[in-house]
């Protein structure tokens, strides 16, 4: 079939799906649908990890992004009850600014990808780097310091979140509000 292997076919299909879903994230009006498309995009990306023989990364990607972060997103959107009807129109300046920022991001990414030519592209399926054992070895030998620093960063964020979320001590005399 067009001289492509199964892996290449899978890669093509997954990439097309990922791009399609990513576009749907932007183009759907309803925020909930948008989040759900984003989850689908994550699944496509997890599929790409699998093609690279990085099963650990694939599953962790799903656990962390689809299973935790996106659930929280969905949670908040559902609680805020955002609908297409209640969506407020953004001011024209906000639109221009977001356009500029998006353009800058694209510019940076193009620049980054231009430099990527020198990097050895990992042959799909052949690499063993994504397996848990190798990943653990790399993380705890070569990248031990950044790994631990990242954990401290997360801890700091956690403590910060608790500090922000903590209630102020109740005022000694609560304001009177009538009978009810």
């Amino acid at each position: 079939m067009l001289g492509l292997t199964i892996t290449q076919w899978l890669f093509g299909i997954l990439s097309l799906m990922a791009i399609m879903f990513a576009l749907m994230v932007v183009f759907t009006r309803s925020p909930v649908n948008s989040v759900l498309y984003l989850v689908l995009t994550f699944f496509c990306i997890a599929g790409h990890y699998l093609l690279l023989n990085a099963q650990f990364l694939a599953v962790v990607h799903i656990v962390v992004y689809a299973g935790a972060i996106m659930v929280l997103f969905l949670f908040i959107i559902m609680l805020m009850n955002l609908n297409t009807e209640t969506e407020q129109q953004k001011h024209i300046i906000a639109r221009i600014i977001s356009g500029v920022i998006g353009g800058l991001l694209l510019f940076v990414m193009v620049g980054a990808l231009k430099g990527a030519e020198q990097i050895n592209i990992v042959q799909s399926g052949a690499s063993q780097i994504g397996l848990v054992k190798n990943l653990g070895n790399v993380l705890f030998h070569e990248f031990l310091f950044p790994f631990e620093v990242a954990s401290i960063l997360l801890l700091a964020a956690l403590v910060g979140a608790i500090m922000i979320g903590k209630r102020e001590p109740a005022s000694p005399t609560p304001p009177k509000e009538g009978l009810l």
């Binding site: 989850v39 799903i62 656990v63 689809a66 299973g67 935790a68 659930v71 969905l74």
Partner: protein, 351 residues
Amino acid sequence: MTAFIIYKAIMCGGVFLLCLAAAAYATLWERKFAAFLQDRKGPSRAGWGGILQPVADGVKMFMKEEIIPNVSNRSLFILGPSLFMITAVITSSVVPWAKPVMIDGQVYDMQITDINIGVIYLLGVASIGVYGIMIGGWSSNNKFALLGAVRASSQMISYEIPMGIALIALIISSGGSLSLKEIVEGQDAGFANIVWQPLGFLIFFICALAETNRAPFDLPECETELVGGYHTEYSSMKLGLFLFAEYINMFISSAVMATLYFGGYNFPFAHELYEKLGLADGSVWISIIGFGALMTKIFGFICLFMWIRWTLPRFRYDQLMNLGWKSLLPLSLLNLAITVVVEYFRGNIKF
């Protein structure tokens, strides 16, 4: 290649049917067991001793009128129960059901697939499982359903964390492999993991109760407060899928607990028994006996689930969150610390 595909197809179909049958009869057993605990008889009309009751229930569910609320989000409303069912079933793909069978010199694993990250796969699927409930609850456009969905998701996220940490402790003490097959094989000779992980098992069990939304953690669907919780608006087989998936979840989580902590298809003095019977490695009979042992353990766990359900009252929501975050999480961290110390002296960890 064809042989491989046929073998995998048989495995998938077999495990799928096993899940459905086990869940169907779990519904009957639940009613029977509840009846026994309450000095009643339970369903006894359909077939001998009520043996055809699940079939009758299924037919009833299919025959019921299907109502999709006007104000609901139609596509998501249909997606919700399907997703919940899918996530319930796909967990079964990493559970090793029996010892590998040797046919014509070819070894066939009695497991759909042995991925080297099986344990994390379980966590991943469990974390996706909440989407079915959330989508179903939200798309119903009903306040009770939404509240149920919100409760379900926050409950599942909260209890995933101690569950994951309990699993880490288990992996450390069982030799560091994430593959369920290797974890089971590690318990082939010697003790089951429960011996080294009693506290970890307790934590995992409580979390499994919470993840499967079984009593006393069935707040997402508690009738007294939320009508029907996330499936308030559902009717006919869509409701059936939600209810049925709960039993599949229960079956699979029992299977996972039996596999991780109780040696899966192994049982005490298995080798002596096989030697006495004169069975060689790879014999079909060994697999069948092992499968029977696993199913017995699963049955025990299912009974335990039900026993707890018909004994304990439901938690209040703040109690649920306190238990998850203030008790189980520190306890699981403590368990992890103890495990590391113990395993250092057992010689499984080297610095």
